[in-house]
């Protein structure tokens, strides 16, 4: 967190060769929406946005309900020398992050807020614009980078159209949703999205955050940003529970689910809890034919950032073993403040195969880029 990445990198790069890294969570931003996104929006939506703004299920139009810990939730050193927001300058990202950290694959997850927008038609148009922008500004210019297919998930039929529009396009390697949806993601409303993603051969990724309208806890709104941040893990547990118990993985046996930036150490206890409840209440959920822990192990991947830090590092190894080494995908969350540095994220020595899987090969295999 806030380690000066350039200085730090100089100090370590002399001492050892760096392995190639897959970074499964990078956040690109437009320099300005008017300059970079508007060219992909019709006049109607440009005017609409200028007049009414972007309305989500929260009260403030210009910022989050919980103000962040620092501006743009960004590392202080991630502001491009050319000006503009962190993550808005490819050359700067290349020289600060992609090059020094030897990023072989960088997965772009734009949090451009085209998702969870109340006006459904606008949300669909905005998602499509951001999809075009990712190719134009990023992935066509640097082939290490891959795009996420943004869909207006509260309108599943429009989402299906967007997926079908891009199916087979090599720039996109996953369908992206945000975690704070209006209904639990296992519910049937969302099934057409999973169906379309499976048909397009794309995993479905769910990034923490969003605007579903419900309080971030089942017991109301907390006071602090730290509670919301920590709460992304509970939020993600709820959506995963929903997807397992509703039978999504049985209905779509080829579905791959990626949970981004919600932690991972909570997964073993949740799996044990769900297994126990499944055993007790099978008459309520007969469509779930196997123990939830098995379904999760076969269908779910988690990105690692922000890495949990137990008091003793061997407890981290226990936890990863219980989840499965092959189910974790390394991520830095560049350019955000709680960035995990690939040279420091794993606090204990691990075997070569585990290390290569953790930092690179799990992601290449999942995304089908290992051929």
């Amino acid at each position: 967190m806030n380690v000066d990445i350039l200085t730090h990198e100089k100090s370590i790069s002399k001492t050892r060769a760096r392995m190639a890294i897959a970074d499964c969570d990078i956040h690109p931003s437009p320099k300005s929406v008017e300059i970079e996104i508007f060219p992909f929006l019709s006049k109607r939506w440009q005017e609409y946005m200028k007049t009414y703004g972007v309305i989500y299920r929260q009260g403030f139009p210009t910022g989050p309900a919980f103000p962040k810990g620092q501006p743009n939730a960004a590392r202080r050193d991630s502001y491009p020398t050319s000006g503009g927001k962190p993550g808005s300058d490819l050359a700067f990202m290349q020289s600060q992050h992609l090059g020094p950290n030897n990023i072989q694959l960088g997965v772009l997850n734009p949090l451009q807020c085209a998702q969870g927008v109340q006006n459904q038609d606008f949300s669909a148009a905005y998602c499509n614009a951001v999809n075009q922008w990712q190719i134009e500004q990023w992935t066509s210019k640097d082939h290490r980078l891959k795009a996420s297919l943004m869909v207006p998930y509260e309108d599943p039929l429009a989402s299906v159209k967007e997926i079908e529009k891009w199916a087979g396009n090599e720039h996109f390697i996953q369908v992206l949703l945000l975690s704070r949806t209006a209904e639990p993601l296992g519910q049937r409303k969302y099934w057409p999205i999973y169906d379309a993603a499976c048909r397009a051969g794309l995993p479905v990724a769910v990034h923490a955050f969003g605007y579903g309208g419900a309080p971030v806890t089942g017991g109301g709104w907390p006071s602090f940003y730290i509670e919301e941040m920590v709460g992304h893990a509970q939020n993600t547990q709820s959506l995963l529970t929903s997807m397992v118990i509703e039978g999504v993985f049985e209905k779509f046996p080829t579905l791959k689910l990626i949970l981004i930036e919600a932690g991972f150490a909570w997964l073993p206890a949740l799996s044990w809890r769900l297994d126990k409840l499944w055993d007790r209440m099978r008459d309520e959920i007969p469509h779930v034919s196997r123990p939830p822990s098995q379904l999760i192990r076969e269908h779910v991947w988690l990105t690692t950032q922000p890495m949990e830090e137990p008091e003793e590092t061997n407890q981290l190894l226990d936890t990863i073993e219980w989840i499965g080494w092959e189910n974790l995908l390394f991520a830095t969350d560049y350019p955000h403040w709680d960035y995990d540095d690939p040279s420091r994220a794993m606090p204990i020595k691990i075997g070569k195969q585990q290390k290569e899987g953790f930092f690179l090969n799990n992601a290449l295999k999942l995304y089908g880029l290992d051929q």
């Binding site: 419900a214 709460g231 509970q234 929903s242 044990w272 809890r273």
Partner: protein, 364 residues
Amino acid sequence: MAISPNAFSNVIDCDIHPTVPSIDALLPYMNEHWQDTIVQRGVHELETISYPKNAPLTVRPDWRLEKGVPAANVDLIKRQALDPFGTSIAVLNCLYGVQLLMSEDMASAFASAVNDWIKAEFLDKEPRLRASIVIPTQSPEMAVNEIERLANDKRFVSVLMLVMDENPLGRRLYWPIYAAAERHGLPICVHAGSTYKHPVTSVGWPSYYTEDYASNAAAFHNMVSSFICEGVFAKFSDLKIVLAESGFTWFPAHLWRLTKFWRGLRAEIPWVDRPPIEIARDHFRLTLQPIDAPPTTEQFERLMDHMGSDEILLYSTDYPHWQFDETNVIPDGISKGLAIKIMEQNPKNTYPRLSAPLNNGINQ
């Protein structure tokens, strides 16, 4: 080889549930206005969807009756919950849906009636029983009044709240409740269940009861965050919070995460002046059942190491909920030494009143 609780001389069960047999049973403990209200308006039973009465988890099969309401009288509790386990003391946490009501006046009347019913039907009839004070959390002021009304009776050993209330439980509006509890040496028992003032998940209402029950664990995570981040323990340094029917295997991982974010964001909550995981170990206690246990004993032993303390768990059967069979309440992987702590020492260190002389509500 699992340990049987019967092998121990002091067994303190920190979470058992008496059932209110019907709303009629509470009428004698209400004034004329509320008796009239309930009859004239046809107020329904305050069962809650947190525990559908015929769901398998709600009552263990051999604790169901051919006729009649399970766990609804002292004889059943003696025969099923106390004697078979060799229990010396058990704490009654009554889960009647008082906290779900919308009117604070009605909730207050029901809370008092439930407490007086517990006193007359259980505490006065069985010396091994203790109870948590049911409070109308709808109104912290009325909740404090209810605590004050009963605090002199040392058989009430804690104060009961549900994990999902209208606000996160650390919020300052609840602090008068914690001040009163601390003043009287009463821990707060935060029990699984929702007041259903909000959807039980942050993504809305789930479809299945299985999900509703599962969601309690996430809510316990949230409330641990809330109690710590709001500074409850900086203000009430003697307060203990018992997380009941919470599962406990999530506890270390959640505190790793909270502690990590505290390192980066502590400027927002400057009164949290040491790592949350340390605060949590000092102030939270978790009941044993249900155990969301890993598949192997070796993993369970590793997990107990992750807990980082042998003072956190409190023995509980969660009677009459179906969490285990026979008397297999203590899982493999808990040593005899740890079992003694869980069954006797930890409860006594958590509930000061378990070590104090009883006065049965009579002023001394």
